[in-house]
Assembly symmetry: C2
Homo-oligomer: 456 residues x 2
């Protein structure tokens, strides 16, 4: 065998392709193989609701790069429809199965990167296998849902789970003219977002015709022939639904890694250090299968997102190529467009601060996105959470018709810098009447919460 | 005389009224008098271009609070049309003249706050006193310009000076159907903004029908009777102009302070420490008449803006009331809407970095405001300047059709925290296809400039 260093990457999505590209950039001599079990690599998973709604025209629009690009431009070998089934740490090999032919091959690696992603949680509901019941995880899922709607033209639809994907799907269904019901087991939406902010999003959904049921569970999916037709709920009358999307969460794909003896963290995802190395020397992990250090919680967390996957992949790739990069960690930022609203959060919510037994203060402020006399201004509601003793900002949640997503970015930046309320209240932010009020909602929220800190 | 502590505030605009309100909040026992030489207090000066364009309907819309509000709700005495002419530091008195009657009165103070603002620079041009030639500084100026346009309906207009006010006035004139010429003595617009970004704004102005002439000077304003009719320029044919606005800059109103022996800083504005105290104990200054500590330059600068005035006023008020507040400083953030564009900057431009003999690196990147496959996305051009050795961010300039102003806020936050390019490239910013791309323009700009740092 040649002495050329070999990198094997398990998974060809954001983390895997970022890492492979970074490694190639730094090391022209490395052999790089990427095994992807689906027929696609490098696609924009977060764009699928917009494919389904029709705003994005074709699945091809979501594909960032074709395999040929990586093969020809970056000298990275791409194996589509190839699933890595086993890792042999001692022998430094992976066992790879061709998804279609079933043929198995072993490949040697010098360095291994696990970006096996995450899979949708599928609750064991009666009727879950009916036609017209979908999860939304891979590009094929997105294409299947779109085709089903195009062909079957369901008049009604139901979404189980009011996380980001559930909310985006509620919008997509509504835009397709489907009468939509959204069912969430918890009292609130968007996971642990506080009700102050979440309720504004619920109102928006209802305004746009979505029937939102929180603190409700699905009991059974009922078919008409092989197709789903109705959903039974606890404490509610059954709901008609010609299509159902299950989006109750995702869990990391870790079985192959676990069987090989790679350690998991407390969250159930693969444990990594800041260099994205696993417990096994020479084996790295990144993206939706891995944990990420959460700067506010001060420990590893599992918050799989596309942005984190890209950044972690890049760090892993750099280190695999012999560099010394560190992943700075996350603060739990996530933003969402919901009909005419922007909704966003970063850091911890009040609920989470309470669960974490943090000594916190929190408030809700409302302010304008532009000067009071400027047409087009919107109300922005901000919930801010800070450490009672030091005033360090722990989390921000915002909702409004404009100017939310990037203001969440300002809070995220402030938290990554460890800023206090006083620091945030003093930020030199831009002011121009048609763009922002003289006291920006960010400053108002911080300045108001400071008072609470002082009053004890 | 009573032993009650007396605060005298010179000037009733953003800084003065913020200070008076803050002092009152902390000290119910203090006597507070505000002397304002104009007939208005507490109005939104930055909104005047929108009054003139017609987007804001009446001058009243720009008045944040009426004098009665301060008198009745906050127990602050407001003296409109009262100009402070002298300060006697030794006797702790101010000499105040009623602007209309000429009557002079002396008032004692225990603490004094100077917020005398700034005045427009008026170049000694021939014809500057013609009817139809205006500066835009006070609310009365704004009302006069609006009335002139309403009454005289000028077909053509010319603006001298391409700073923020000049650009906003070019838009306002154009919206009023006035054929507009913008003349700037310097090669670029918006002061020391670099040409990479400034030229995009110039293109936008030209697209919207504004004739932009840079590196050109006005020689003379020529009248037809008492009214301005034409403007002579060097190296250009004369331009018809039934209205002219001069916006070539402002300078701090410091004569009364200087005569009293209050020290000025190197910029010519009143020197203050971080508590907003002047060189004279018990005398404070804030707002457009005062300097502000610039965190990137590492020294006091003169960048008069409404946001800074509000914050400085608040700090001064707190300290006057016996508190111990510090002004955190500025990073030189300013943003602007220009027709369909947002333009913004924070920190230093490349020109300024060169003037300051900083060892810098700089680059220009272009990226999208939303995911590539999302309708409504806009190109954002970013110019970033950083310290070559450490990678500390020194400045950012951006232009694009959306998402500029708040991204400048993210850079400003990063600079106030002393972040490096690596810190910025790792920021956990929000991502959602219709709101932001997976690699935000902020991250792309930082990450790209890092390469330049490494390559030396």
């Amino acid at each position: 065998m040649s002495s050329q260093e070999k990198l094997v990457v398990i998974g060809g999505s954001a983390a895997g392709m970022s890492a492979a590209s970074r490694a190639r950039k730094l090391r022209s001599d490395m052999e790089i193989k990427v095994f992807e079990r689906s027929p696609h690599i490098s696609y924009a998973a977060c764009g699928m609701p917009y494919l389904i709604s029709g705003r994005v025209k074709t699945p091809q629009d979501l594909v960032a790069y074709e395999p040929e690009f990586f093969e020809q431009q970056r000298d990275i070998e791409i194996f589509l429809n190839h699933e890595v089934r086993t890792i042999d740490i001692a022998r430094r090999t992976v066992g790879v199965q061709h998804v279609k032919t079933g043929a198995e091959t072993k490949y040697h690696y010098g360095k291994l990167l696990v970006t096996s992603g995450a899979g949708a949680v599928v609750p064991p509901l009666k009727g879950i296998d009916l036609d017209g019941v979908f999860i939304l995880r891979s590009l094929e899922d997105g294409i299947r849902i779109k085709d089903f709607i195009d062909t079957m033209r369901p008049a009604s639809g139901l979404i189980i789970g009011a996380g980001s994907v559930g909310l985006e799907m509620a919008e997509a269904f509504t835009e397709r003219g489907i009468k939509t019901t959204l069912v969430e087991r918890l009292p609130g939406i968007l996971g642990s977002m506080d009700a102050d902010i979440g309720n504004v999003a619920i109102e928006e959904l209802r305004d746009k015709g979505v029937s939102v049921m929180t603190s409700r569970s699905v009991v059974e999916l009922v078919g008409n022939g092989s197709f789903v037709a109705r959903v039974s709920l606890d404490q509610e009358a059954p709901v008609e639904a010609g299509i159902v999307v299950v989006s109750v969460g995702i869990r990391p794909n870790v079985s192959v890694a676990t069987e090989a003896g790679i350690e998991l963290g407390g969250t159930g995802a693969i444990k990594v250090n800041e260099r994205m190395e696993t417990s096994v020397p020479g084996v790295y992990a990144a993206g939706d299968c891995a944990e990420a250090y959460h700067l506010v919680l001060g420990r590893n967390a599992y918050m799989p997102l596309g942005t984190t996957a890209n950044k972690q992949g890049r760090v892993a790739g750099e280190n695999i190529a012999g560099g010394d990069a560190c992943f700075s960690g996350i603060v739990g930022t996530s933003v969402l467009k919901l009909f005419d609203l922007e909704v966003g959060r970063t850091g911890v919510s009040e609920q989470e601060a309470r669960q974490e037994r943090m000594d916190y203060i929190a408030n809700v402020t409302e302010h304008r996105s532009r000067a009071s006399y400027c047409p087009g201004r919107a109300r922005i509601m901000t919930k801010l959470v800070a450490d009672r003793a030091t005033g360090r900002v722990l989390g921000a949640q915002m909702v409004g018709r404009e100017g939310v997503s990037l203001r969440i970015g300002i809070f995220a930046t402030a938290m990554m810098a460890g800023m206090t309320l006083k620091d945030v209240a003093s930020l030199d932010l831009g002011y121009s009447p048609p763009l922002a009020p003289v006291y920006d909602p960010v400053l108002i929220a911080a300045s108001d919460l400071m008072k609470l800190m002082k009053s004890g």
